[in-house]
Amino acid sequence: MKKRTLVSIAFIVPSVIIVGIFVYAFIAWTFAVSLTNWNTLLPNWSFAGLKNYIYLFTQDMRFHIDLINNFIFLPFFVIGTMVVGFFLATLLNSGVKFESFFRTVFLLPMAISLVVSGVIWIWLYDPTNGALASLFEIFHLPAINWLGSMTFALPGIIIATIWQYTGFTTSIYLAGLRGIPQEVIEAAKLDGAHGLRLYWNIIIPMVQSSTVTAFVLMVQLSLQMFDIVWVMTQGGPAYATDMPAVYMFIAAFKDNFVARGAAIAMVIFALTLLVVIPYLFTVGKITEEEA
């Protein structure tokens, strides 16, 4: 082996070992736990096969509700952040003044913790004196107890998360739009492509890689949505905002259903892989072409 290879190994080995343990070994560990009867305070490694998974999918009403909530949350959040993000990026890219001011404002929520955002939004949604209640009063609309309502709690959380993450998709799309060569747009315009047709036929296809990136990131965020739900509602009222990640935390760390928590975690992980694996393959192809 060449000396150079040995040195490279020395440089990269610490990272490989740490990621090997904290990512790969831990996933295997969680999977192993999910196949046991460890639904007790003390560890119990007796083999249970797929019992925990079967319970989740056939009997566990809470888990069914969580999946439904998550699949209601997901399209609103993903489409909301992507459509608004693309739209705002387009406006920012149209040569407006104070562009950097607007960009800074839109991305500001990304710089603060979801716990902070959660606490702020609880106050905005407060049914007695909250800002939204005051706004509704101006228009003589009935006050809504947003986070205490079976109907409005989930939309309330969706709005707060869209507020948090739209700056992210805006930035991704803005970088994509900036990457389109000006000549391409000019040429398309000369060919008579204007307005919506210009967007549909030229611009949207040319920011496809931004769309893929934004989609993968937003779907992944949806599937593991925990922080803001935990802070704002803890899954309530009556599971109206409960998510698999919330149930996983409660099962594994509060109720000592460790194996069940591990099984929920594996389900979340498997769902994430559905979007992440194809994405990593395309990224891998691109980096190979670069090299």
Binding site: P109, A111, V115, F249
Partner: protein, 272 residues
Amino acid sequence: MKISKKVAVYVVLIIATIFFLFPIYMLVITSMKSLQEVNTTSSWSFPTHFDFSGFVTAWNGISQGFVNSFEFTIPAVIFSILLGSLGGFALTKLKFKGSNVIFMFLLFGMFLSYQVVLIPLVKFMAALGLYGNIWSLIITNTAYGIPITTLIFRNFYSSIPTSLIEASQVDGANTFQIYSRIIIPLSIPGIVVASIWQFTNIWNNFLFGLILGSMPNIRPVTVMLNNLNGAMMAQWNTLMAGALITAIPTLIVYLVAGKYFVKGLLGGAVKG
């Protein structure tokens, strides 16, 4: 026609600005009101007189967390940057067989749903005797920062010409000398981007603190803010003051160095 279109663009941008800034406005003004003034129907209005009692109460509740967060965030930022820089250097400038596989191996960690590692994480830290120790948070945040810092430095080092390294090899410098004398000094912009991104992410993290921060002496500020939220029901001035205190370090970093924050964001998102 042209002018009306321009006006429409600005109107939409201003509406978006109000949407994004309004919660921040409420955060700031509410934190400076007395509890009496908060409990009126005019929650939108500017404080009639400034009252900072909310900050005093909030600080009493979360100051320990504020200190704790600095205590584990700064070492974790440093360690994850060091590892990411070494790895990024090896992956780009010392290209070896299988370097792409190693890169994918590390990159996968960026797309991890943390739920799938939480149970082993607690057991592992307990087995090491680190549960309840600040090092559990330092190690955890370092470990899960490696994928993104490696990616940032890999992308950054790709732009440094290889000829520079080859020239110094001809001059007889060994790899460690090349790394410490040539790469590190050139890395400053990469270090700035990675440290801002890592600082923001680690400071803002909630989940690791929630499961590892069982003892108040290591509990992060985000977890303490959430506890304050449970303890101070409807004391909005105190809660907003607490939220503002928690947000201040990352907000300052963002407002001072937003340009680099975006680079970190996109470094992990677009370039892949």
